[in-house]
């Protein structure tokens, strides 16, 4: 199987005046395309920073991150944006929908950015799949947390990403809603054959993925 994400000796160090703080220290791992994986660890362990590096939202201080065969280190901000739009999908703990856009428009944005045509039926279809076909013209504030996360799911899959990063996707949801959202996430993922990288401290959720890597104090412990 092809490797879609490969990290070699990746470190992230924040500098504040004379002091420096090593958040990630010499991280090495890779993921094969189509697989699912969780990054788990306690709060402050560096999980989110690692996700940011993997998804091209931030740059490593040293080491090499390769996403879908592209080395991210040398890319400009705009090139990184193009990579994200092309290959990456996101789901966030606090949903991160654009508040001034309707549910449908939120789902359409990644496709519009790619300059694709006739995208409305596809976006509506995705909203249907997450059970929100009837709510397509509602704004995020008119939706519940669970509904917002489902729109977020539809948006994440809209551009048929090669890899999906989910940051604590159920962190802001109650148990029942969480369960529905997780099922939807895995169903859609399976259907699209997308690689899934999940960041969570919920071990039960992590267990649903094929592989788990643990992180503690900025180091990979397993």
């Amino acid at each position: 199987m092809d490797t879609i994400l490969d990290l070699q000796q990746v470190s992230k160090i924040y500098k504040s005046g004379d002091r420096s703080l090593t958040v990630l220290d010499n991280i090495n791992f890779s993921i094969t395309a189509g697989s699912t994986m969780s990054i788990v660890g306690p709060s402050g362990s560096g999980k989110t920073t690692l996700l940011g590096l993997c998804a091209g939202l931030d740059r490593a201080t040293s080491g090499n991150v390769e996403l879908h065969g592209t080395r991210l280190n040398g890319l400009s901000e705009d090139q990184l944006a193009a990579v994200r739009n092309q290959y990456v999908g996101f789901i966030f703990q606090n949903f991160q929908l654009l508040p001034t856009l309707t549910a449908l428009e939120n789902v359409m944005v990644p496709l519009e950015l790619r300059g694709e045509k006739n995208i409305k039926p596809r976006a509506l279809d995705l909203l249907d799949k997450v059970g929100l076909g009837e709510r397509s013209h509602h704004y995020p504030t008119q939706l519940s947390g669970g509904e917002q996360q489902r729109v977020s799911l539809a948006r994440a899959f809209s551009n048929k990403p090669q890899i999906l990063f989910a940051d604590e996707p159920t962190g802001n949801l109650d148990a029942e809603t969480s369960e529905k959202v997780v099922k939807l996430l895995f169903d859609l993922n399976k259907e699209a054959g997308t690689t899934l990288v999940l960041v969570t401290h919920d071990l039960e959720l992590a267990a649903k993925t094929q592989r788990i890597i643990r992180i503690k104090g900025g180091k990979l412990v397993e």
Binding site: T48, G52, L57, R84, Q96, P99, T100, P110, E112
Partner: protein, 845 residues
């Protein structure tokens, strides 16, 4: 960028603005008034230019007009006679006009006319036929101001000098006259053939000689005038053609519209600061949306463009609304300034002015919005994971500094276009800049002081209100700058008005002379003094005046200066008549600035020491020690300049450019000027009537009347300035409302949290009120102090007047601004007070 992409950016800009349109409109409203002011003024300027072009011929009334301040004789007379067959001659001078029926009399501009002038336009008279008939007999056209003042009717009699004229008609308008000229110096036209009989053409009388010509259509008057210019100059004749009249009139009104445009520009700048501060906070709130877009693959430049499109959009909307408002206002401007205009002003829509307004509006809104906008480029997609406001810190971005530089350059460029001098434009720009720096520094200092000396012993509510001034994401600096600048502007306008009005009041108060008699012949002096004594009118001053001409400067005559382009002096100084006095000491309105004052002269002293007014000496390039030869009725006086004087022309005094010492001119032909103070209008009327009856050649200036006229003029000018300042004041209020409204969104979360924690409505109310009070009070105080300093500088260096600010209005302005801030702040926070916290929390967008 391809079309699809740009369309998408437009679409995104539109979508993103959805829930913010009312706020965006609020940003826009700050610039509407500024643009309206500019469009109105530019339209006025355009219409003035258009009307001047169309009506220039009626402004001068002829193809060519020649002017001289002395009788036209010799070669000059031959030139005047040879120029054209169709010509008119006019002699004008100031004289008392006595209204037989009412017994009133007033100094007027008497114009003796011979010929069919005006050739273009006409005298507007009631009845219309009077324009022609007054020329046929012993009749006069009398200005409507005089007719109204003395309740005279057509057919009544007036006496000018020794001749009684019947009033043929009321003069409503003469070519080139304005409502203002008729208030200041109302005209009376009489036929020239009665001039000698009036007995007013005596030696020393100040008469202006004018010749008006009508040429055949084929004559190129401009060319003719250019060709004859050296001969006009040699004969001390000034000339005007329709073209030069056009240029002169255009120039003076250009100055007016430029000044007004500058006042309008201040309103616009204030609005732009409002826009900039609003956009700053707007972008801060949009941080998360921008980060999400970046996450989804939007390039930094695209994100930047989405918001730039919004700004351009609101800039265009604001400018269009401003242009519509400005064009509407322009329809009313002629009413405001009609008394200053020598012609009818039409108010056509000026598309050029609208275009200029739109361009400036869009440009300036983009320019001021760019510094906060460029920070969008730095928004990291990582913000979706953890929000950091650091990405909005622009201090180290060289582009931001470049933009600040561009803004300063724009302000300088615009003010230069209005003022046309580098130095004034620099001072204007520097003052605006300094105000910003001072206000910003004050705000920063306050935040630092509050933090450093935080009053821990105060009650919780006071502490919370105060702490809000320096908490993260505070708006102290922005609000202090915008509210402070608005206050400073309004206060300065108020103070300047007070300074100007104080000056006028000062000259009309106390025992200052209020009646001036001039043209008193030597033979009449004793009789006038006796009359004054008999009527118990004290004579404060009695000054002898000798008329003379300048013949030589340092051995060179007017002829030597002709054609000598390297000469320092202008040959103009030879053409005029000098009214000179002699005395042995300086008057209270004079100060010696250079050289040595010599008050007496003995023939043994050699050259006669004279003193010149320093401004006149400077304009004429005359230095201390220069030798001047004056011609007093044929007798040459060899003089040397030994001193310069600074003269306060503002005082009611007889002041002179040239002063001789005693011992020289005592026997020379002279006339006298007397200054008196009459205690009441009754005494004044009786005294004036007696003087005019006994001495018809003596002219009287009634300062009470002059002051009334001045007051009228000040009211008219004051109205124009207040009208323009109104734009700034209103803009200031809108900026205040916008600033407070946008800060509402930040306070919302905090107040809701406090309410959730159990704070009562009253407590939230008190915290909010206190915070806005601290903000408003500080901004108002800084603005007032700034304006006091500015007004003091203006008073000292520009108006050369004393500055005594009134305390009460200052306190009123302070309280008004502080309370207004609190009021607007509370009005906009009422949502937090009266709605359940959850509802507010859910509507956090």
């Amino acid at each position: 960028m391809n079309n699809i992409n740009f369309r998408w950016l437009l679409q995104m800009a539109w979508r993103d603005s959805r829930k913010n349109r009312s706020r965006l409109f609020l940003f826009v409203s700050s610039i509407i008034l500024g643009i309206a002011a500019l469009v109105a003024i530019y339209s006025l300027g355009d219409n003035l230019r258009l009307n001047i072009d169309n009506q220039a011929a009626t402004l001068i009334g002829a193809d060519l007009a020649l002017y001289s301040g002395k009788p036209v004789e010799g070669k000059a007379k031959a030139l005047v006679d040879s120029l054209g067959k169709i010509r008119s001659e006019e002699r004008s001078f100031a004289s008392m006009v006595y209204f037989a029926k009412s017994g009133g009399n007033r100094l007027a501009q008497v114009k003796a006319l011979d010929g069919d002038f005006p050739y273009y336009g006409k005298f507007e008279t009631i009845p219309v036929s009077a324009e022609k008939t007054f020329r046929n007999g012993q009749q006069a056209l009398v200005d409507q101001t005089l007719m109204l003042q003395y309740q005279a009717k057509v057919g009544d009699s007036i006496k000018i000098g020794n001749v009684t004229f019947a009033i043929a008609g009321i003069l409503e308008k003469a070519p080139g006259s304005t409502g203002l000229t008729s208030t200041v110096a109302p005209s009376v036209y009489i036929p020239m053939r009665y001039l000698t009989q009036t007995g007013l053409m005596q030696k020393g009388s100040r008469v202006a000689y004018r010749y008006y010509y009508l040429f055949p259509k084929t004559t190129d008057v401009e060319k003719l005038a250019k060709r004859l210019e050296p001969r006009f100059e040699a004969g001390d004749l000034d000339y005007k053609t329709i073209q030069s009249q056009k240029e002169d009139t255009g120039r003076s009104f250009r100055d007016l519209t430029r000044f007004l445009a500058l006042v309008g520009f201040v309103a616009l700048l204030l609005g732009c600061i409002g826009v900039a501060s609003a956009i700053h906070i707007y972008i801060r709130e949009k941080l998360n949306s921008i980060a999400i877009l970046r996450c989804l693959g939007v390039k930094a430049s695209q994100a930047f463009l989405i918001y730039l499109i919004q700004i351009v959009g609101i800039g265009v909307i604001g400018s269009v609304l401003g242009a519509i408002l400005g064009t509407t206002i322009q329809q009313f401007l002629p009413i405001v300034i009609k008394d200053f205009l020598p012609f009818e002003l039409t108010t056509d829509i000026s598309w050029l002015a609208i275009g200029q307004g739109l361009a400036i509006g869009v440009l300036i809104s983009i320019l001021f919005a760019l510094p906060p906008l460029v920070s969008i480029r730095k928004v990291s997609p990582l913000n979706v994971l953890r929000v950091s406001l650091d990405s909005l810190k622009n201090d180290r971005d060289p582009l931001t500094w470049l933009l600040y530089g561009l803004i300063v350059l724009f302000v300088f460029g615009f003010s230069f276009l209005q003022m046309r001098t580098w130095i004034e434009a620099l001072i204007f720009t520097a003052s605006i800049l300094a105000s910003f720096v001072i206000l910003y520094a004050t705000a920063s200092l306050l935040m630092w002081l509050v933090r450093k000396f935080f009053p821990t012993s105060w009650s919780y509510l006071w502490r919370q209100g105060l702490a809000n001034l320096y908490r993260p994401n505070n708006q102290t600096a922005i609000l202090v700058v915008s509210i402070g600048l608005g206050t400073a502007l309004v206060c300065t306008l108020f103070f300047v008005q007070t300074i100007l009005l104080d000056r006028v009041k000062l000259s009309s108060s106390g025992n200052q002379p209020n009646i001036v008699l001039f043209d008193i012949q030597e033979s009449q002096k004793e009789a006038v003094l006796a009359l004054a004594k008999a009527q118990h009118v004290p004579v404060n001053q009695n000054v002898a005046i000798v008329n003379m001409r300048l013949e030589e400067v340092n051995g060179k005559t007017a002829a030597d200066f002709e054609g000598d382009t390297t000469a320092e002096q202008s040959r103009r100084i030879f053409g005029r008549e000098y009214r000179v006095t002699f005395r042995d000491s300086l008057s209270s309105s004079e100060k010696l600035t250079k050289g040595q004052w010599k008050g007496t002269y003995k023939p043994a002293d050699g050259l006669i020491p004279i003193s010149l007014e320093e401004g006149f000496a400077d304009r004429s390039r005359i230095k201390l020690g220069d030798t001047l030869v004056f011609n007093v009725q044929g007798t040459m006086m060899n003089t040397t300049v030994t001193s310069f004087r600074e003269v306060n022309w503002g005082e009611v005094q007889t002041n002179f450019l040239v002063i001789f010492p005693t011992g020289v001119l005592e026997e020379a032909p002279q006339f006298h000027v007397m200054l008196t103070h009459v205690p009441d209008p009754q005494t004044s009327a009786v005294f004036q009537r007696a003087i005019v009856r006994q001495f018809p050649n003596i002219s009287i200036i009634d300062l009470a009347l002059v002051l009334r006229v001045l007051d009228d003029i000040f009211n008219k000018i004051g109205f124009v300035i207040r009208f323009m300042a109104g734009f700034s004041i209103l803009t200031g209020l809108i900026v205040l409302i916008a600033s407070v409204l946008i800060s509402k969104y930040q306070r919302l979360q905090e107040s809701v949290l406090l309410r959730t924690l159990g704070a009562s409505r009253k407590q939230i109310f008190a915290i909010t009120a206190l915070e806005y009070f601290f903000l408003g009070a500080l901004a108002a105080l800084t603005g007032i102090l700034l304006s006091l300093a500015g007004s003091w500088l203006l008073a000292k260096f520009s108006f050369e007047a004393e500055f005594r600010p009134e305390v009460l209005p200052v306190i009123v302005i302070f309280l008004f601004v502080s309370m207004m801030t609190v009021f607007i702040g509370l009005i906009n926070s009422r949502g937090i007070l009266y709605r359940p916290p959850l509802e507010v929390l859910r509507q956090d967008v």
